[in-house]
Subunit: 258 residues, 6 copies
């Protein structure tokens, strides 16, 4: 523990970075928190990987920022293939040196029952890739896979907190996806992921009278204003489309938080 006075003298204010996802800049009032970690939680199939991949794709293509994708569960080839129908040409980005996909899914082959795994290997790989590309965005999909590695939730919490620390030190904006088991009730699988991160987005696909309805909610965003309600979204030919149904309230929002 140490006094904090000296090193924080010149405060940099928070900055937002646009995602390019249709409607997201509206509901977040500006995009993701630059240099911070955003958690994307949702049940299986809620669109976590799709959302994170679209942010990554548009950040590279529309903003000209390079990015690193770490996949814990799916194979890189599948990540690429899953967005092919949406016309997002990840292979081109890989060839152009604007994107690196790190395959952490292989690690499951070597994991032992003894629980003293740590994330430092992955962190250093990410560090190298970020340095190599001058990447400004890191996507990690998904924390659920850490289920394999840690028996003790306290250790897991510490490791995730340290992962966030490390990403912050790399000065990248990062997206972490995390699993949950039901649409309402506790936010996250392990019960602490949301507390550890600076921003938290909840994706839902809920069965209402035998119909499915997709929504997105910016659950928390430390340090700034944003909409906090649930907004419906659809997955269109060219990606996610958030319907800013609360748009009428937007003017009002310039003077108050909701």
């Amino acid at each position: 523990m140490s006094h904090a006075t000296p090193d924080i003298a010149p405060t940099e204010p928070l900055r937002r970075i646009p995602t390019g996802v249709r409607g997201f800049e509206h509901i977040s009032l500006g995009g993701l928190d630059q240099g911070r970690t955003t958690l994307v939680v949702g049940t299986s199939g809620s669109g976590k990987t799709l959302f994170a991949t679209e942010v990554l794709y548009r950040t590279i293509v529309e903003q000209g920022r390079n990015a690193v994708f770490v996949t814990f569960e799916e194979r890189p080839g599948d990540v690429v293939r899953n967005v092919h129908r949406l016309g997002w040409d990840l292979p081109a980005l890989l060839r152009d040196g604007r994107l690196v996909i790190l395959d952490a899914s292989m690690d499951r082959a070597f994991v032992e029952e003894a629980g003293d795994y740590d994330l430092s290997g992955i962190v250093s790989q990410v560090g190298h890739a970020v340095a190599e590309l001058g990447a400004e965005l890191v996507v990690i999909d998904s924390l659920g896979a850490l289920f394999y590695q840690f028996q003790n939730p306290a250790i897991l919490r510490r490791e995730i907190a340290r992962l966030c620390d490390n990403l912050r030190e790399m000065r990248v904006t990062s997206l972490l996806t995390a699993e949950r088991l039901e649409e309402y009730g506790p936010i996250s699988r392990f019960g602490f992921e949301e507390f550890v991160s600076d921003c938290c987005i909840v994706l839902r696909h809920q069965l209402v009278e035998e119909k499915v309805r997709r929504t997105i909610q910016i659950y928390k965003l430390r340090g700034d204003r944003h909409y906090k309600d649930e907004f419906p979204f659809t997955i269109e030919r060219e990606g996610i489309c958030i319907l800013p149904l609360a748009a009428a309230e937007l003017t009002q929002a310039s003077s108050t938080d909701r």
Copy 2:
């Protein structure tokens, strides 16, 4: 962990493979994901084995693709007998070398309490059968039986993920059935089966005011559009019949996901 750039250069797009189950191609907008793993979850009696067997039967008979059925709980003779009333002549397919039924149910006789079981024996048997028949479809019924073998859910998750990896490497389309205990609430018994697979189908038989209603929902299908709602189905003389009640919305579906 390794960089993914080189080996994914020539991306194969996702392809769909028809099942022949009445109504399924409609609600999935094309059938199962070829070369991938589809999880079929449901409570006991919801129709998992029936659905998987019908897909297998029609794939062989209508599409001319050979298949392997791995049974963990029921005896092969019972698998055959259960669909006899539906007129599906599995013995003929067995004789013609178009189908192999592997009996993994016997394994329960030899299992020990010590939890270091792994699925590699089954995987290699499946590999041989697939090679022998040139099979393109593998059905594994059901993961619930692994309940016997693994005390540690983290190990089980890893083993199921590796099983999916192995099936993908065999380049077969596969159907895995898995148990759940209640019609709503958490999707799967162990709380991770749905995250590990590429596609997830939920079967329900729900008691509403003392009447039972069967439904099917394509819960997730990575990488493509599909209907996401619950559709009623019945079991008719010749098999499952999904009622595309949302058919009116189908035109609309060609431009948007639901």
Copy 3:
């Protein structure tokens, strides 16, 4: 694990065996699955023992088939006494060598804490009795008593699956009763009994606005059609009486499953 091709060549179709319980043949569209295991689950007092005993009694008296009753919890004398009021003269059947009651309740006196109990002793006793009588029906009441013996649910699941295997090998039709703690929610106490058996019947006695209502539901029946709804039943002077309230729908049922 072994290939299944050769030995299943001559498939015997499923056959039904009538129970004699009023209304049951209607709702099951023919009776119990011959040669298979039917699980009867319900809370305490829901009528499991009564149902199983009535099937046994009528199978002997009306169908002329001998039977074995294994009692895990109650004493044989109590089993007999409990149905005395209903006019079912079990002592006569015992004397005539058409029924044997095996008393497994005594075993609780000798059980040790060490969990390596297995069911092979009971299985071999049942085997002898079945052979002696040429019995075609076995009732086992109830699996709940196994609660004493097994600490590890995985072992218990395996043992119950093996018990079912053994009963099938004896070529008898069997009824197993099992406990549950609440009228709705998970089907069975241990969370797997229903998956292990071929047929599952749920008995309920539910308190609705301070009145009790008894119902029976054929929850699953592998390999054939049946009604799946909840049907009310009463216990009359001469036994169970299921009210086929859905009788009007019966004609319709000849062409579709419900």
Copy 4:
């Protein structure tokens, strides 16, 4: 395990024994099962001890049958004092040798953490007292206190089942009280008490819109007809008074069970 044929030849039918509790003979259609164990479950304050004590008091005074009361939680002096206001003169019965109160509450002073307690000491004390008095009724209040002694629910279940066996062998009618934590949901604290006993009565005191309502339900009664509904009761100056609100239905009950 042993064949049951010989020793059960002369079947004694079930007999009922009146309790004297106002309304109870009506709703039970005759009283308690003679020679069997009846479980009385309820939350704290639901009236378990009062009901059991009233049955005991009236059995001695009105039927001329002696009785033994085993108290696990309260002191004998308190058992006596609690019913003083109701005019039940237990001290007189004690003096006249018609009642014995055994104090098992003291045992808590000597119990060790090591879990190998068994109930044989209590059983033999009860046996002596029953023999001494020629008692026909035994009340044991309450099983909840066994919570102290047994860590392993399987052992506890076996011990309670053996206690019931022992009481049956003494040929006494017995009442056991047992705890539950909520008015609805699982019947008993440990999840098996109701399965082990022959008859089960549920007492409730439920808060409905800030008013308390007491009810009694005969949850199960093996081997005979009875009302199964919830009946309101009050505690009057001279004891429990069950309101046979369903009395109109009583005629009907002579031909059918409810």
Copy 5:
């Protein structure tokens, strides 16, 4: 275990002792059970300490009976300070030798992880103070703090039962406070506190449509009549004020329990 016949011959009937809390004598039909233990359960902030302190204060000041307060969680100074606004001058009572506050909160500094703590030290301190003052009332606030000391709930249950035994032997009337986590559902934190005590009072402060409503309910009172409903109460300038909303029903109550 011992026969109870001799020593309970001269039965003292239950007596009530007034509390002085406005409305309490009405709803309890006379006050607390003299010489017995009353449990006061409630969530945090429900008013347990306030209620117990008011009973203590009024018992000393209005009834002229001395009292002992044992505080497990708060410091004596805070106990005193918390009721200062209400005009209850505890320091004067302390000076006059009519009240002793025993500070058991200090014990937490010395507690070890090893769970073999027992309450005999506290009991003997209480015994001395009771003897010294000739105290007739003991307040123990609160049992929740025992959470620190006992890992094994069975041991804790036994210890609390023994504490009650000890207090009864001191012939004092006692109030024990205990924690619960939710306003409805299980009565107490550990699931047995209510069974162990002779009387149980539930305090609630419930959020209904964003408004808080305080209520008191006499949940059980062994051996006597009382109101059992929930009564609203407020905390006024001079202490708790229970609103006997059911007063109209009071006449009726003289002939029946509710």
Copy 6:
């Protein structure tokens, strides 16, 4: 355990300290309890850190009292940055020696699995900072991070109680934030935080029909009157704004508690 008589003779009455948060003095009827610990609980994003920081900021700027902020999860730089948009210039306060931010988040790097962590290091650091600044307010954000350190909830409860003791001995007013997982149901993550503290404030951000609504409730405040209802609040340009919707009832409140 010790008699409390002598040292509490001169009772200091409770005093309130204003927070400066708009509306808070209204709903609390005067502010925080001076010299005591107030717990602020809420789900992630409910505004715990914001509320605590605003109290700290206004206490320094508006009341001229110095303060110490201990951060367990976020880095000091982030604490500062998060309130920059609100115009609260923490760096100036740090420079002027009116505020110290202690960084306890670093500790996670050194924590071991062995659970014998204690809070004495942090307590002594806080003690030094308080002495150095003559600080009157301490904020600790958040207890949730202790999740890392303690496996045994009993130890954790004791440690938090001792932390509160220590803060009381420093004679500072303190704010502790703590995590909860759902908006209703149990108040706190570990199930005892609310019992250990003198005052408890609950913050909620609840999703009602896809809209989020923020509320604040003073759940308990030992020793004094306050409003107990839920009040809506918003986060405006210059900080939290509690809407005293119950203002009309305020006059009434001067004579009664609610």
